[in-house]
Symmetry: D2
Subunit: 277 residues, 4 copies
């Protein structure tokens, strides 16, 4: 399944302001980048860096005045299809220790405070893919998708209380609930096919045991995008580590333009195991 | 139904420390004080004051060194028995404006942040006594009664997240959920018959329309005490206004002794409307 | 000193929505209402109520569709002028017990959590009017006045951390710091002469001992209005109790128009003791 | 400078409970492990793992019933001594991108909410080692070291408000303030020479530019231990990633015994640059 995607960003500064961007599609077996281009106006030195732990692709530029950037790519997604019933949770005893990091509470996913909540709502369910799915269903049913009620300080604790938010908030609460149950979980930013209106999207991954061993499985509790059309950009403990743009100085920004189109008709996907852990 | 009750408190200070106590039983039609005594050792000037809005009975003493005080009373409770099905909510249009004060969020009952939560859990239920009862049942089912997990900074927002606490926390969350639904609610401290171990207890009242007009109805979401044996001490927006002791300086306290015994066998009580608003 | 003031509010509802307004000027010795009018369009039954504890003047209307209301008044302010050096704090031992209510933490003024902060910043200063003034100076110096960074859930705890907000946030933190030092303090909404742009203003009062006995003294840590031109509307523990409009249903509002003009030139005012406690 | 150190931990479980420990001294150029032993009673399979990003040394055991473990080591510390005046901050433009991770807010270090606070207190100071030192001095002066006032949910936001805590809280607030100023900072757990009473200690590191290039510099805002005698155990964004013991099930623990002694007299150390970034 092939997609054409990209974004156009526009900034204005009054002094030299370093920017770090993370908007390139990741590159791994099930997500192949066929073609890619990055255009920066004015022309500026660009420093690229890929974080080894996450595969996140960063670059830094330091404009003075205006900055216009456009990224485009053609990406082939080849998610593995697996039977949800064949996907189980991994007991603490067997968890690869590298995955422990995704059990710890983080800035926006304070799983330490949600232990009883997670137990009373989901503790009685059979462990496995279906339990993470039950968390997503709960989020879909009990949290209102509503723009403008949350902001960049809103965390899972706020959302479990106030019961409204956007994709970022859904992902944070989903992650926090998974971790509170002992399921490693992490935050994913993505180009999201069929998301309306088009924008960067946020979903999450849970670390489960599939037919081919432990893997990270993707979940979108907002149900706003096509699961077969999620092109991963950034991965991290939570959104604190996955901003598409970070800047160090005064900046004016225009609303980003984001797009993704299928280059062929999209078949339905049930469950997608991504890269090996 | 007659009760003998009281408490014994013991403090030690190194300088003159003003104390304000609120541990006298309130006095109103359905709660008659037959006999009462307060003993302070050493003997000190006592300043008494009853707050007009609440009926809370305060007194102030300023010991230097040790303070031992013992309060005892014989109180007759004559709660009205009413059919829960005859008790309805009062629409905002008809609410006595004096009751508005008990709709506002307060220190420990941040109802403003629980609007969606309250709507999604209880918004679909038929309004009335039974809806407040449903809130109490939910608290009983989904919040663990557990000492040591909450403290004096714990509020309804914490309890809705962490799902554990003591009577004070149950009352705060019950109040916040009522207010979020437009039902005035307030905090009550009480001598509580059959509470084990004996201690000051915290419950709450909701303002509803009974067969004889608007009244405050008592609810104990912990189910730890006999509803027929709750002798009211203090009433307020939340526990911030209803401490049994407030002191202004360094103090060492022993754990208070609190007791209440029935002077006759206690009949079961279904619903008790208390004083008129 | 005479002022002409008023406001114009405009709402639209799709069903019958009860509104409670608190926008009338209060009436007391130092604030005399010479003339007053309230116009409601369409014409609707109005229920008036004055809260005995606060003197707040409420009214309730229940429009369906549109509601336009205009309040105008001519008010004479006659604040007493006193020497700040003659105004002292009131020790806990002597505090009128009715003032205790304004020592307790409230929704937006969690003084219980600011005890050490208040002590370390202001504990070493000489008690009195000057100490409350030092709190205001600190607020002015260390909190940025900035619209859009706070909202209706922002409390003193947020402001002490994030150090930015509007008049409401300044008042809340000022109140919380006073209470943490044992000084009763309360929230005041007002028509504020010389406030730019014109709007409802929020300030606070501290309970101190003046040359004529205990009284509530007004403080405006934002320094945005003329202290001689503050016409009190609502008074309460914090803004939770002092909204100019509370409504019970879906409503669209236009931004309120608020005005106040001096009917004679305004002399400078140093310290203004208001009504007796 | 050579130290003999160790700890003894004692647990009791009623079922098989997986434990992950992180209590081994790290191994790097300036911290050489001469000798080390780990004894587990009863004898159990041990799975060791060293996290590549952090150098943290973890091991997992799954006891049923009792678990007694004792770790001992002889460690040689050879910190580099550098002149504080030669140590500068690294502008965002030049920051190695791997260090960005330590600029992001984390569970206990919500630097995003402390931007104005950090600017108003430390923004005017000359950048460099001395500015981080000024943060430490401020923590020492304005936060009370007090056991029992904070717990495992206490974060930098709570400590900046409540102004009391233990080493963990000092480190969290120090880290958050550094990050808010654009200085990467991370949490360190350590065996701490001269700490009284002996216990695991928490300090932090800031990423600065020294005479030999960028490096992580150690800071102890509590001033409770000898800076020349800090043997690093765990490193992470904050304490969420650096627990000495994590367990997955019901467990009773005894208070850990921790010790560290110098095997030769300790010379004073001014500034210690540790491993290269």
């Amino acid at each position: 399944m092939k997609f054409q995607l990209g974004c156009r960003l526009n900034y204005r500064t009054t002094e030299a302001v370093p920017f770090v961007f993370n908007l390139h599609a990741q590159s791994f077996d099930e997500q192949l980048i066929e073609q890619e281009s990055l255009t920066i106006t004015p022309s500026l030195p660009i420093e690229h860096w890929t974080m080894p732990e996450s595969g996140n692709r960063f670059f830094r530029v330091t404009p003075t005045g205006s900055l216009l950037l456009e990224y485009t790519a053609i990406v082939e997604l080849a998610p593995k299809l697996e039977d949800p019933n064949s996907i189980s949770e991994i007991p603490a005893l067997e968890l690869p220790m590298a995955a422990l990091l995704y059990l710890y509470p983080s800035r926006y996913c304070q799983s330490d405070r949600l232990a009883r909540f997670a137990q009373s709502h989901f503790g009685g369910l059979a462990p496995g893919y279906s339990r993470v799915n039950a968390i997503c269903n709960w989020l879909y049913d009990y949290v209102a998708y509503e723009a403008g009620v949350s902001d960049e300080t809103t965390s899972a604790i706020d959302t479990v209380t106030e019961r409204a938010g956007v994709c970022r908030d859904f992902a944070h609460l989903g992650i926090a609930l998974c971790r509170a149950l002992g399921i490693p979980a992490r935050y994913i930013s993505a180009y999201a096919f069929r998301l309306q209106p088009p924008d960067f999207h946020a979903v999450f991954e849970a670390f489960l045991n599939g037919p081919h061993g432990p893997a990270w499985y993707l979940f979108d509790p907002t149900r706003l995008a096509d699961p077969a059309g999620l092109v991963r950009i950034g991965m991290g403990r939570d959104s604190a580590e996955v901003a598409f743009a970070t800047f160090f100085g005064e900046t004016e920004a225009e609303k980003p333009e984001v797009w993704i189109e299928a280059l062929e008709p999209a078949p339905p996907v049930t469950v997608a195991a991504v890269r090996p852990s």
